[in-house]
Structures are given as C-alpha cells and as structure tokens.
C-alpha cells in the first residue's frame, strides 16, 4: 500500500494525520476528517499546547520509543455535544501527529470510572448515615433515661404517700379512693417500665443474666402477683409442671418472670369467666411454657400481628382494656434472647394459648437452700442509725414516713458534701444516698466516704443508692462508685424496708453454706479454699486495673476446679467471672467477686 493510500485509510478510521513541518507547524496528509478545523491545531485543540511540548522532545530524542500517546481530552462540540480525543506522536521516516476520535473508548472508560466513583460515594453515604443513626439512638436513649428519671421522681412521692395514706385510719369510701389512686399509680409505673424495656430492647441494650433458679418458684411468684386480680374477676389460676423436670435451670429468672407476668396479665385482662392455666414441660432440648385462658380469643387474621409493637388484636381493645400494646413485643424479644420462640393458638370465643420456649440448661450446681431458708432479718428488731441524703424534701418526708414505727433513727442531709461531713462525725449503720444532688452528687459522696473508711480502717458501711435512674448503666455507675446496692424510685415501702434489713443486718443474715466433701478430698480442701481466698484479693486488684485477662484466667480455673472439690458454687461463680470478663463487664465481675467472698466466708465443710 502506498503511503498516501495508508493515510487515506487512517483518515477513514477517524484519525487526522498531520506531518510536522517545523516547531509547532503541521500539514494534513490524506483527506482531513470533517471535525478537524482549519488553522493551527493548537487553536482548535488547546490541549495540544501542552502535549506538543512533550512531543517536540520526543521527536528530537525518540529513544527507541515507537510512539508517544496523550491523555484523553474532551471538548465541547455544537448542540451541547462533546467530542473526545487522544493525540499520538510518531517518529518514523517522517514526524507524524495523529489526532484520534475516541468517543466509544471514552464511554467505556467513563462507565468504569463512574461505577467506581458511585460505589465510593454510596459507601461514604452509608457510613455517614450509620454514624448519624448511632448518634440519634444515643440521643434517644439519653432522652429516655432523663424522661424516666423526671417521671419517676414525682411518682415516687405519689405512690409512697398513697401507701402511707392507706396505712392510716380511713373510712370505706376513702379506702376505695386510695385503692384506685394506688392502682392507677402502679399502672402508670408499669407503662413507663414497658416503654423503657422496649427502647432498651430496640437499642440492643438488654443482656440476659445466666444464674441458677427454680423454674417452678418463678412461675408461682408470677401467679402470686396476678392472683389477686384473677380472683377479683372470679378466675382460677392453675399450674402444672412436668414431674420429672429438673427443678433448677440456668438463665434469667427476672426476665422469665416478666414474660409470664405479661402473658398472665393479658389472660386475666381478656378473660371474663373460666380459668387460666400455666404449664411447663420439656420439649426436645427446650423448656416449653404455655399460658391458656378461656377468654375472648384472637381472630385468625390477627394472630400473626399480636407480637408486633404497639399492636393489640383490635384497636377497640385499647379503648376497652388499655395498655401500651408493648407487652407482647417485649416478651417476644426476651424469648428470642433466651434462644426460644413465641406463638399463639386461638379461635374467637374459645380462649387462647400463648406458647413460648426457652433454650436453657439445667443447673447442676447446689441450690443455695441454706441461704434462702435463713430467717429474713426483720427491721422491727433492728435498732439502726440511718443517714439519708436527698435534696428533695418530699422524698425525705416519704422515707421518714416509711421508717416510722421501726426502731431506726434518721439523720437527714440535703447534699453529698453534707453527707460526707455527717458521716465523719457520726456512726451510721446504713446510708441512703440520692444520686443527683446540688453541691456534691451521690457518687462523689460515696467515693469520699469509702476513702474515709479505708483511711480509718473502718468496715464498709452499707450505702444504698436510691435514685430515679432505672437503666442498667445507672446501676453500674452506683456500684462502681462504691454503693452496696442500687434501689430505683419509685420504691414501695416493703421493698425499701427489706433492702435496709438485708444490708444492715447482713452479718447476721448470712447463714453458713454446708457443703459435703468426700473423705479422700478432706485433707486438700482447706488449702484449696485458702487459695481461693487469695484469689479474692487478686481479682479485686485485677478489676481495679481492668485486667480482664487475669480475671478470665482465675474464673476459668475456678470453673474447672470448684465442682471437682465438691464446690459447685465456686464453679458457678468461676463461670460467671469468665463470662463477665469476656464481656468486660465490671459490674457483673464485682458481683461475682462479692459472691465468691460471701461463699468463702460462709462455707462449712462436712
């Protein structure tokens, strides 16, 4: 093919072929494509001003390179269109400049890059949204905690005063008013608790406990609570449990009781006559609970939605029976956290049965019978001097009212600083401490009191935090500050008196724990227990350093060795330590250390 034929071919393929005639000077070879304007190429294609600098160098010193290519460039064309080009300098017999239309290659390159850019932008957007969501969830939790605190504080006074009022001399009419008053307050408290529970579940903040408990006892406790309401409607509540079922299981008895209370509460609410039955049996490797009633029943098309939040089987239900519609949604989440499922069987008019299962393991350890059988210390016999720190005069008045008639003497202060000062000058058997107070808050006050005790070599005084903060974090914060226990307002009189008696009378309340040790082990048991006493100090110091690895190792050793020596209690505590160390949960670790300490102080081998 002749050179001119070759240039014609290149032109037909969309190339403009130019020959360099001098620096910055070119002439077209073959027929020039229509898109190549007349005149200097750099006027038509400003991009070439830059490329030609490199091309001139290349033509002067090709260095064996067959060609030099430019980057792609884009220029506006008529009617808002765009043209895409690339230039190639060639050094052969002649010095050539090829300008190539690369529209289709450009489209491919752009599709590829655009895909990468859009993916990256989407990723950035998702990450931003997820941060915003996390911030919003945090703000919601904070708002709920604050709201819960604000509602609980006055509710504490209302419910407490109603309780005290009911203990005074009242005529029948007044008694009825107070009864309604108290019931309404209890309902309000239940609603607040439901909403809090639900929001905690939603935020994934609920952690199931794993402790040994008696399943029949939990069911009976739930029935006891509901029984008054059932009997008032003339409903009988019965309970059956599979006879060969192990009595003790590992799990979260509090949450289990809550689920049962929810289901039993609904059964009583929606049943006008007949009976309610609770049954527990083992189904495959799960515990299966069923709560049946002879009530209104649920229509088939509603059965699938009753476990959704804010849903009741019928909107008119809310008007007739009240409630937030959250009970079953919360129960469903709790059941799921226990590895089980929940479902309903019903037909309108023939009652309903709500079934749920829980994947629990039987508790092989020793039942803490001795401790449970120990007589509860009665506050009546306890002559106790109590220091009460609370900035609310209403709350102080209420606590004073609760303790009237006991042998307790109360000194009252309005803030943490005054509490520390009083503590230093007086002898107190117990301290009740509000969290949020002016001047000095309760947490700082407890820390100061603990420091003072250590300095003087005094044994720790029981300090009960008494706050309207209901979240687990508030409890952790109290215990971390050095409080002995955390009580949540509103608190019923009996609950407060029981807590005071439990903690103030502790040395007397602790009954010996009898453990039978096999004869051949008897010589080594004292050494084993002594080593565990050493572990208490090691654990406390590891906890202070937040050295979870050491806590895990010590827990693991205890879990592995305890039962072998006959101390199932030590194995259980060791397992709890292991788990809570893995979860880096200081509050649970602290509880486990205190359980271990108590066990070691009270264990008696035979």
């Amino acid at each position: 093919m002749s050179p001119s034929a070759q240039f014609e071919l290149l032109a037909a393929l969309g190339y403009a072929v130019l020959e360099r005639t001098g620096p910055g000077s070119f002439r077209a070879l073959g027929s020039a494509p229509r898109w190549l304007p007349k005149g200097p190429v750099t006027d038509a294609f400003p991009f070439l001003e830059l490329f030609l600098l490199d091309a001139e160098e290349y033509w002067a010193y090709p260095g064996g390179r067959p060609r030099l290519s430019s980057d792609l460039w884009t220029q506006a064309a008529d009617f808002g269109r765009e043209m895409h080009f690339r230039a190639v300098a060639v050094a052969a017999d002649r010095q050539l400049l090829l300008i190539e239309r690369v529209d289709s290659r450009f489209d491919q390159a752009q599709a590829f890059v655009q895909y990468a850019h859009e993916a990256k932008l989407a990723e950035e957007k998702i990450s931003k949204l997820s941060h915003e969501l996390a911030r919003a969830t945090e703000a919601k939790s904070e708002f709920l905690a604050r709201m819960s605190h604000e509602i609980r504080t006055p509710l504490n006074s209302l419910l407490g005063m109603a309780e005290l009022l009911s203990e005074t001399e009242l005529n029948d009419e007044q008694r009825e008013y107070v009864r309604i008053f108290r019931r309404a307050g209890d309902t309000l408290l239940n609603i607040i608790n439901d909403i809090l529970d639900f929001s905690k579940v939603e935020a994934g903040q609920i952690q199931m406990e794993c402790i040994g408990f008696d399943v029949a006892q939990v069911v009976r406790e739930a029935i006891d609570i509901i029984d008054v309401r059932a009997r008032a409607k003339g409903l009988a509540v019965s309970f059956s449990i599979q006879p060969e079922l192990p009595a003790r299981w590992m799990g979260d008895p509090g949450r289990l009781r809550q689920i049962l209370l929810n289901l039993l509460g609904n059964a009583v609410k929606f049943t006008e006559q007949g009976a309610i039955r609770v049954s527990v049996e083992k189904l495959h490797d799960e515990l299966h609970f069923a709560v049946s009633d002879t009530g209104a029943g649920i229509a088939a098309d509603r059965i699938s939605t009753i476990f959704d939040s804010f849903t009741q089987a019928d909107v008119s239900t809310t008007r007739k029976y009240g409630g937030t519609g959250l009970g079953l949604a919360i129960s469903k989440r709790f059941v799921e956290l226990m590895g089980g499922r929940i479902w309903a069987e019903s037909a309108p008019g023939s009652g309903s049965t709500i079934h749920f299962t829980a994947r629990l393991e039987a508790d092989e350890g020793n039942a803490p019978e001795a401790a449970e059988d120990a007589p509860r210390p009665a506050l009546d016999n306890l002559s106790l001097r109590i220091l009460l720190a609370d900035d609310s005069a209403d709350n102080r008045f209420l606590i004073r009212g609760y303790l009237r008639g006991t042998a307790c003497l109360i000194d009252e202060v309005e803030n943490g600083a005054a509490a520390v000062e009083r503590f230093q000058s007086g002898e107190y058997g117990l301290i009740l401490m509000d969290a949020e107070m002016p001047v000095m808050d309760g947490y700082s006050a407890v820390r100061a009191i603990r420091a003072c005790e250590i300095e003087r070599g005094l044994p720790p005084t029981p300090v009960l935090a008494l706050t309207a903060h209901a979240f687990q974090e508030a409890r952790d914060r109290s215990l971390a500050a050095g409080c002995t226990d955390h009580l949540v307002k509103p608190i019923a009189k009996t609950a407060l008196l029981e807590a005071i008696a439990r903690h103030a009378g502790k040395p007397h309340a602790e009954a010996p724990i009898h453990v039978e040790v096999e004869n051949w082990l008897k010589p080594v048991v004292p050494g084993y227990l002594e080593k565990r006493r050493g572990d208490v100090a090691a654990l406390e110091s590891a906890l202070e350093r937040r050295d979870f690895a050491t806590i895990h190792t010590l827990g693991h050793q205890m879990a592995g060795s305890g039962a072998g020596y006959g101390f199932a209690g030590i194995t259980a505590i060791g397992a709890a330590l292991e788990e809570s160390a893995l979860a880096s949960d200081p509050a649970r670790i602290r509880r486990a250390i205190s359980d271990l300490d108590r066990f070691l102080r009270n264990v008696v081998t035979g």
Binding site: D54, W73, Q75
Partner: protein, 172 residues
C-alpha cells in the same frame, strides 16, 4: 486577547465540571458524570477592566485508582481547589493537593471553593475548618449558581493583579 489557563482540581464528585458548566453555559445537570482525562472550555471575561480569555482545564478528580496527573497543570496561571461541603474528607484532599501543586509549580494564585451550598443542611465542613488555612475562599452552589461567577472572576482579577476586584468579589 490575553489567555489564562486555569485548572480545576479536587477529589472526584465535588462538582468541578458542574462549576465550569454553570459558569460557561449557565446550565446544571443533576446527573453525575465522571470526567476522564481533561475537559477543556473557554470563557471570555472582563476582570478589573482587562478583557481576557480563561482557558478552563477541568482535570479528572483524584480517586484511589488514579492520582491527579500533575503534568496537566504546567503552564497554568492559577487554579481552583474544589471541595464538597457535605464531605469533610474532600477539604483535606484539597489541602493535600494545594501542597503538592505548590511543591511542583511554586506558589500559584488559587482560590478554595466549598461547593454545594444548596445542601447546607448536610454539610460536614464547618467555617472554622475553612478559615484555618487563611485562603481566599468561596462557598458556591453549581446547582443554584450561587457564588460561581464571583469565584471565577475573583481568580481572574487575581491573575490580572486587580486587588480591588478580588476584594469586591470575595465580599459578595
């Protein structure tokens, strides 16, 4: 007529092409189209009494796959650093590019542009972040046209040495 080459530089997706399009053609297109290589436009302006042609070199945005081709900046009289107000990382990228360009070409006149004022509710870039550099800065919306012309003219005025025009544009 005097010709001045101005380069648009910044992270991909900040709106470099849209700013040029708004300035040259008074058009905004919602579609995002990645620039490949270089896109060249021209616009005649009058800055501080001087007529000049701005040759606008819109350089492909830098991304993880391809760094900015610095050789395209040769011969530029100034440049426009573009960041997206909704993406804080694009401002750091602008800062980094400014350092690289200064290292290669010496101190060239430039302006910083924080684009997308129409999405101000979603901005991550705070005015304190912008002010810390002490650069001549414009907040623009290629979509709504806000601040776009002022920004280009301010840089043009800088190139012609008209201090009064720079100040006037910056105030607006």
């Amino acid at each position: 007529m005097l010709k001045k080459k101005i380069c648009m530089v910044g992270q991909f997706g900040v709106g470099k092409t849209s700013l040029v399009r708004r300035f040259v053609d008074s058009i905004f297109d919602e579609r995002y189209l990645s620039t490949i290589g270089v896109k060249i436009d021209r616009k005649d302006v009058c800055a501080g009494g001087t007529d000049l042609t701005l040759m606008l070199w819109d350089l492909a945005g830098e991304d993880d796959l391809a760094p900015l081709n610095m050789s395209h900046l040769r011969g530029a009289s100034g440049y426009i650093l573009v960041a997206d107000g909704c993406r804080a990382a694009t401002l750091s990228k602008a800062r980094e590019l400014q350092q690289r360009i200064t290292k290669m070409l010496g101190p060239l006149p430039f302006v910083l542009v924080i684009n997308k004022t129409d999405l101000r509710d979603h901005w991550e870039v705070q005015s304190a972040d912008i002010q810390q550099y002490g650069w001549l800065t414009f907040e623009t919306s290629a979509k709504e046209g806000t601040g776009v012309e002022e920004m280009f003219l301010a840089l043009a005025a800088r190139l012609t040495g008209d201090r009064a025009a720079i100040g006037k544009s910056a105030e607006s």
